[in-house]
Amino acid sequence: MNQLALLVALPLITAFLLPVVNRVSTLAARWLGPLVLLVTSAIGISLWSQLGDSAVAVELGGFRPPLGITLYADRLALLFALATSIGTLLLWPSRGEEWLRQSTLALILAASGSGLALSGDLFNIYVFYELVAVVSYGLIAARSSAGSFAATVRYLIVSSFGAALALTGIALVYQATGTLNLAQLSQLAPTHLNNLQGLAAFVLMLIGFGVKAELFPVNTWVPEVYATAPTRVSGLLAGVVSKLALLIIVRLLVLVFNQPEALTVMLVLGMLGVVTGELAAWRARDFNRMIAYSSIGQLGIMFIAFSIPGQAGVFAGLAVALHHLVVKPAMFLLAGRWQGSLDRLAGAARTSPLGAVLFILLALSLIGVPPLPGFWAKLLVMVNLMAQENTLYSVGAWVIMGGAALEANYLFRVASSFYHRSEQQTPPVAHRTRDLATASLLGAGLVAGAVLIMPLADEIEGVASQAANRDQYVQTVNPEALP
């Protein structure tokens, strides 16, 4: 089970070896990165098959917690570590002149992303979070245009602001409990953090880590970054990195901040995210910003879902998150040749028929049309929201329905323009084969998900029930802890 550390260590070492390898052989350097990600994915899959219902904790360097840092893997953490490896592999940066630097950054992103998913120590999470942030600045600015530098520096400011707030929250937690180990915090939380200081710490960390999860007040960077960054990087940030930030917040909620007020804060911010994101997407007039705003709305739905108390919330939120994890990167891959004004897309189905069909498939699933997985995910959220006694949750359900209506409106507007013949202008050029192939793969995954929905739902429910199990986390990390 020590292979767990390899998920972080292997890409990290390779990233720094890459420039050296490049001196010897450019061909080897080009293929080394994807190869290592294949290996980490294989390790992840083999761990997944061994794990079953149990969970493992690895003490790094042999230091016992709470002083040592633990890596904790249950199926939820492993799933997201795996998603990071596979996602980075699928969205591997295009081959420009800067390929060496881009590959290095992508590998560090895979390493720190896996670390974020697996880490069981609050400060360690902060360090990995900052590492993900720094690497993403480099990836976003890859096009070296003036606009991309401006967008990056604006993102850097929001992100550093968030990180400093999260650090303040961590300081408050440490002040109250004297530990940063999540398992130990989970034991101390009912007595030490069930007060105003605990709530303040949670809100600070929610906003801090929420920057990457496109949470409502700290998501100003989303449209400009996704409009200026290379589309593959945008897909990676919107698809994978946002989910990692969300995973941290869910872990904190389940293990440490089990207070109704904390859930309410998240519910309200999620609703505001859905309303603002979907309205802005409806008004957007270029493809990239439309899907960027729509991703804010989608993440708002996830925040609403995760604010449902108990295992039901984790299950519903996880379903929406996994669906988005597949759909959004595919959307951004299609944006590779379709970026720019929506008016330019008239007749796009003639030059890229497969792209148009894929877009319609993804759009239908995003809106929530049966029998696609997006429908089941949204249905799950709605049913659980309606089952809550608090009226605020039913408001959340109506907000999601309204958002879906807006989504249907603007996505179909685009889809119908694909089949419009325009006399004056030429339709956009066809997609690159590599983009289209990756997007088709994700689309095929979506269809497979629709066919195998029952076993898939059982599997996700199992992951969620394990993730919602506080006692297992505490017992696995610290077997001597009292039950």
Binding site: L67, F123, Y126, V127, E130, A133, V134, Y137, A141, S145, A146, G147, F149, A150, A151, T152, V153, R154, L156, I157, S160, F161, A164, L165, L167, T168, I170, A171, L172, Y174, Q175, G178, L180, E224, A227, T228, W282, R283, R285, D286, F287, N288, R289, Q339, G340, S341, L342, D343, R344, N409, Y410, R413, S417
Partner: protein, 147 residues
């Protein structure tokens, strides 16, 4: 003499507030970056104070003698890490600010944002809305949805 602990906590929260105010209120990019640095300094100080005790000795055991009251070394190690991260990001931010200044000839964030929005709009081939509530944009959107 005022209570040292109160003074230190006041300093930490004061730095955090100055930092947030600077980020929100400043328009000059370099000032915003420095405000971020102040905010980080405040957060670091707060982390150090988390286990601070008046008159605590450094956590070093000399000649087998254990001091009565020792400072907790964990936050000190953490803050060291946080400072290193902060310096790295500060350098990156300043270098990006330099690139922005070279490209747009200004460090005023309102100007930078306007130029950037213009760049994005030009690249996308859409008109630049004159304000965020431009009626033209809404009208186009309505026409498109009606069509």
């Amino acid at each position: 003499m005022p209570d040292t602990g109160l003074l230190l906590y006041g300093g930490a929260f004061g730095l955090i507030l100055i930092g947030i105010a600077g980020i929100v209120l400043s328009a000059h990019l370099v000032r915003i970056i420095f405000a971020v640095a102040l905010l980080e300094a405040g957060a670091n100080l707060l982390l150090l104070l988390a286990t601070w005790h008046q008159g605590a000795a450094a956590p070093i055991i000399v000649a087998g003698r254990v001091p009565d009251l020792m400072a907790d070394p964990v936050p000190q190690a953490l803050v060291l890490t946080a400072i290193v991260i902060g310096v790295g990001i500060l350098a990156l931010a300043l270098s990006l600010a330099l690139r922005v200044q070279r490209a747009y000839g200004t460090l005023d964030m309102h100007e930078v944002r306007r130029h950037m929005e213009q760049d994005i709009a030009d690249e996308a081939g859409i008109d630049m809305p004159s304000s965020s509530h431009a009626p033209a944009a809404v009208q186009t959107a309505r026409q498109e949805s009606g069509a």
